[in-house]
Amino acid sequence: MAEMDINGQVEEAARRVQVRFVTKLKPPFKAPPTSIAIPSNLTRLGLSSIVNNLLKAGKDDWNPEPFDFLIDGELVRMSLEEFLLAKGISAEKILEIEYIRAVAPRKQEEPSLHDDWVSAVDGSNSKFVLTGCYDGLGRIWKAAGSCTHLLEGHTGEVTSVCVVNPRVGQDGADQIVATASKDRTLRLWKFDADEPSDQIKRIRAYKILHGHNASVQSVAANPTGDMVCSGSWDCQIALWQASGSDTGDVVSVKKRKKDAEEEDPQVEEEAKSTLVGHTQCVSTVVWPQDEAIYSASWDHSIRRWDVELGKDSLSLYCDKVINCLDVGGEGSALIAAGGSDPILRIWDPRKPGTSAPVYQFSSHSSWISTCKWHEKSRFHLLSASYDGKVMLWDLRTAWPLAVIDTHNDKVLCADWWKGESVVSGGADSKLCISSDVCVL
């Protein structure tokens, strides 16, 4: 029927292409694998409506769903005809079009208000979102608008946060997080994520990491969760012991406040080791594998450090200041970085002989503050920019998949949460959660 409809509408206008829709999606999204002839001037929207019609034919109570289409591993972003022409694909044969659910937020949660700019967010644990704020507090959010814990102690603005053991603490207990601040310290916090709470619980850091000579810009934990590394304005990367009090030299400091006696003793600790080599502020550190730390710096370089040797094993030079870095994608090896220009660059360090970026995405209009790979997907990543927008990218197309512009000021941080939401915080003191993104 749908076929007939469309035939009636556009028959005289366009050529027809024989296509067959295939998918890796689960049954409710599976369309019958018959080949049909469709007009070749259809765009993604037209294709999506055809697939929806096909699915509706199989199931009566079908809610229309946006789809994205892949031909030979590339997303269709123009009309089918132009696409075939550009790629040199013959229109004579039956074309196999794979469809996936469109990656775009379908729901915007209520913004979670902070007292000051939201400078950092981490959503690597699916049970909570950790944010750092310019008022010097870290916050744990269970869901949009429901703050459970308040991390008190920093005397300066929190610049970066990270969940130290996202997998260890799947049960929720003994969840460790780390925060870095402009007061030149890092603090480690421990809390129980599953603990039901009616009111906001204030917690204190169990460990204060001293050693940096300038503001700490970034913190990252290793996958096993026993080490934390941090980058700072003093051009150094420091490695810290994260796991509790089992280390030998524990210095117990007396709490200044007598009335808070129920608190755990706070431990101050020095850096285990430092990685020296950057000449300017280390803006981001990432620790995706146990043996390698990636760091980005204002001296225009991206380095990979061998943790055991303490030396850099790879340097990539960009001619811009780099503000953010993430490693992920195919084989967890692609390096995405953004900096003092509106271009998101992606390097493949495995590619020999060249240090040119393999992908460049330039839809932003201001500095890029954050980029994050999706945990599971090889293709998807997000970027946040000072122009107030969060963009979702697929490596298979040069256009952004979706643009989230719920913020009305600079977006300072963003992350994936639970694999299907995007959390972002900005200079408008809001934490925005855009859910139902449907990656995979």
Partner: protein, 741 residues
């Protein structure tokens, strides 16, 4: 005409030898007649002086015409001669010819045949000689005998008292003759029968006796008849002129003056003029009117017409064509092939314009080869086009540009603005970057000083100082984050509180003023600065006596640790505008409105004086190498000084249309910038080479726009990021912008 006539006549005379006698007679008669005529002339000359001239003129004319008549008449008389008629009186017109005749004849007569008339004797001969010469000389009718007396035509009464009557030709006096008394003369006249024929010639003082013929002539004249008896005034008129078939007038003689009829209207005009002159309407000034030598150069064109400055200078006339321009010149004009070849070696200007050529006939002459070209040229004249196309030098304009490297090769440099620092409520007057580049401080005329985080644009600290801030400056040492703020007469040293605990502690100590030091200061009147603890803002307040215009950090001038101030021991001419420290040596730069002085702080003396040549210096900046200096001025000029080169600017960049407010050098990149009231900041590439022989390379890179104008002020300050090729600009629109590469 006369010569052949005369010779013919002579021949005739030789043939007619038998007629000698008659002719002799005739000659004598003629002589006497002449004497009579002369005396008559004299009389008329004496008596009627007025009419001396006009008869002469008319005589001349008469003779001109009568000549023709004479020739005709003469031929007639000749005929009569031949016929042998005994006619004594021939027409007077034939005189000269007959004189010549008589010349010969008389000689013959004197030698040969004797004379019947012997009374006259020698005297007569001499007289005839005289008259002959005279006649010979006078060809005209003014037939005066050259008088022996040479006194001329003077009144003879002048000589009345003298013994002489005059002078002869030799200049000797001519004595008066013995004068007979009246009685003797009467008796002599009674005795002499011929006395009635004698006339006294007063002029020559002699007696002249008239001949019978002369008397006859006189008688005829008295009767009013023609002097010659045989002259027939009524000869029948012979019309010699053939009126019928002549197309052209025979005579080409000019119109005689006697035919002139004076114009009545002209004479009336003359009368008018005469009257005007008498009345004084026409004046003849002796002094010529003085022409003004200077004239109004920029006056109207109409007035320029009647000025006499440039007279028309006629073009020189071209040479008339000669033989060589002929179509068929003779062979000597034709140049040989060698000559033609040699023309090619000559200069183009010296080459002959025209090379003669030979054509056997006019038919072979080709058409003028430049005819079309010249016609075209004249047409161009009509269209007011230039005839000759000016030969332009064929130079690619690109090649005239100085060879500057392309902007692409000079990256990185700030190009676009991504970050803005908003929060000030008044024009941001001054900004300063912290040495690591993490913070910037800004001072505004709304009385606040703010510290911003560069990365995010967040304001992290605000001091309300309550007075318009004129300058802010960070301590260049990163471990001592002190901010110096100058406003009005005070300099505040503010603790930014950005260090860690120990640093903060040391800072607090540093910024504490011991109380005993203040009385010391107050004792000394000469100290220009008071150090006062400012508890409210947690800093030190330095009280100056004069308005502080700018403050610059160095380790010495305000010795923070000792709380002392070194007074600059130099005398300045004019108000100091901007100051700067040498980046490596202990030198100090102070600029006044016109000049820049460089002082050595250790030796405390003037090292150098730089002359800017601009209207008013607004700011200076020193290259991190220390040998180069840029100066921004209020007339929009940017001067680059090479201190090793000279005290004059190495290069002046006239880029801004309005005042330059601030110039800045980058600490590590070869960049410098200028910010101006025209709401733009210019970024330049300024490469200083370590090779001293190589001049600095200055390339303009980028114009940074974006600021809005506020009260005529644009970009008030610009500072480079200490480590990145970024430029901060502070605008009068209370916004700070960061331009990134």
């Amino acid at each position: 005409m006369k010569v052949p006539r005369r010779s013919a006549r002579q021949k005739n005379l030789q043939k007619d030898a038998e007629k000698e006698e008659a002719i002799n007679l005739l000659e004598q008669k003629e002589n006497t007649e002449e004497v009579v005529e002369r005396s008559k002339d004299e009389e008329t000359a004496v008596e009627e002086e007025n009419f001396v001239e006009s008869p002469v003129v008319s005589d001349d004319d008469d003779e001109d015409f009568s000549d023709d008549d004479g020739s005709l008449g003469e031929s007639g008389s000749e005929d009569s001669h031949l016929s042998g008629e005994e006619d004594v009186f021939v027409s007077s017109d034939g005189e000269d010819s007959f004189d010549a005749k008589s010349d010969d004849v008389s000689g013959n007569g004197a030698s040969g045949s004797g004379r019947d008339d012997t009374e006259h004797g020698k005297d007569d001969d001499a007289e005839s000689d005289d008259s002959r010469t005279v006649v010979e000389e006078s060809d005209s009718s003014e037939d005066e005998v050259d008088p022996r007396n040479t006194v001329g035509d003077v009144p003879l009464k002048w000589y009345k008292e003298e013994e002489h009557i005059g002078y002869d030709l030799a200049g000797k006096k001519i004595k008066k003759k013995e004068r007979q008394d009246k009685l003797d003369s009467f008796l002599a006249s009674v005795d002499d029968s011929k006395n009635w024929r004698k006339i006294y010639d007063e002029y020559n003082d002699e007696e002249v006796e008239l001949t019978k013929e002369e008397v006859k002539v006189i008688k005829r004249l008295l009767k009013g008849k023609a002097p010659h008896a045989d002259f027939d005034p009524y000869v029948p008129y012979v019309d010699w002129f053939s009126w019928d078939d002549s197309k052209h007038p025979l005579s080409s003689a000019p119109e005689p003056k006697r035919r002139f009829i004076p114009s009545k209207w002209e004479s009336k005009k003359v009368v008018q003029y005469v009257r005007a002159i008498r009345k004084g309407l026409i004046k003849f000034d002796e002094k010529p009117k003085e022409e003004p030598s200077a004239y109004l150069l920029w006056g109207d064109d109409s007035s320029a017409i009647d000025r006499q400055g440039l007279a028309y200078i006629p073009a020189p006339k071209p040479k008339l064509p000669g033989h060589e321009e002929s179509y068929n010149p003779s062979l000597e004009y034709i140049p040989t092939q060698e000559e033609i070849n040699s023309y090619q070696l000559m200069f183009e200007e010296d080459r002959p314009k025209f090379i003669p050529k030979r054509f056997t006939s006019l038919r072979n002459v080709p058409a003028y080869e430049k005819a079309v070209n010249e016609n075209f040229g004249r047409c161009l004249d009509l269209y007011l086009c230039p005839r000759a196309r000016k030969k332009r030098i064929n130079i690619d304009p690109e090649s005239l540009k100085p060879k500057l490297p392309s902007r692409k090769d000079l990256r990185p440099y700030p190009t676009s603005c991504y970050l803005e620092y908003k929060g000030h409520k008044g024009p941001v007057v001054s900004i300063s970057t912290e040495s690591t580049g993490q913070w910037i401080a800004s001072g505004s005329s709304d009385g606040t000083v703010r510290i911003w985080e560069v990365e995010t644009g967040r304001c992290i600290k605000i001091w309300e100082l309550g007075e318009s801030v004129s300058h802010v400056s960070w301590n260049p040492l990163p471990e001592r984050p002190i901010l110096a703020v100058c406003m009005g007469e005070d300099v505040y040293l503010l603790n930014t509180g950005l260090g860690n605990a120990e640093e903060q502690k040391s800072l607090e100590e540093l910024l504490r003023v011991e109380t005993p030091s203040t009385p010391d200061d107050s004792d000394n009147d000469k100290t220009a600065v008071n150090w006062i603890q400012d508890d409210k803002h947690g800093g030190i307040r330095l009280k100056h006596f004069k308005t502080v215009s700018s403050v610059e950090w160095h380790l010495l001038i305000h010795l923070l640790s000792k709380k002392q101030t070194q007074r600059i021991p130099f005398k300045l001419h004019g108000l100091p505008v901007s100051t700067a420290f040498h980046p490596s040596r202990s030198a100090f730069f102070i600029s006044t409105k016109k000049n820049i002085r460089v002082y050595d702080l250790l030796k405390q003396k003037l090292i150098k004086k730089l002359e800017t040549g601009v209207r008013e210096v607004s700011s200076i900046a020193i290259h991190p190498g220390g040998d180069n200096l840029i100066v921004g001025s209020k007339d929009g000029k940017l001067c680059w000084f090479d201190m090793d080169l000279s005290s004059q600017p190495y290069r002046v960049l006239n880029c801004h249309p309005k005042d330059i407010n601030r110039v800045a050098f980058h600490r590590s990149y070869p960049l410098f910038a200028s910010s101006s009231d025209d709401c733009t900041a210019y970024v330049f590439h300024g490469m200083v080479y370590s090779d001293l022989n190589q001049n600095p390379l200055i390339v303009p890179l980028e114009i940074l726009r974006g600021h809005a104008s506020e009260n005529g002020r644009g970009v008030m300050d610009c500072k480079f990021h200490p480590r990145q090729p970024w430029l901060f600009t502070a605008g009068a629109d209370s916004v700070i912008k960061l331009y990134c590469h």
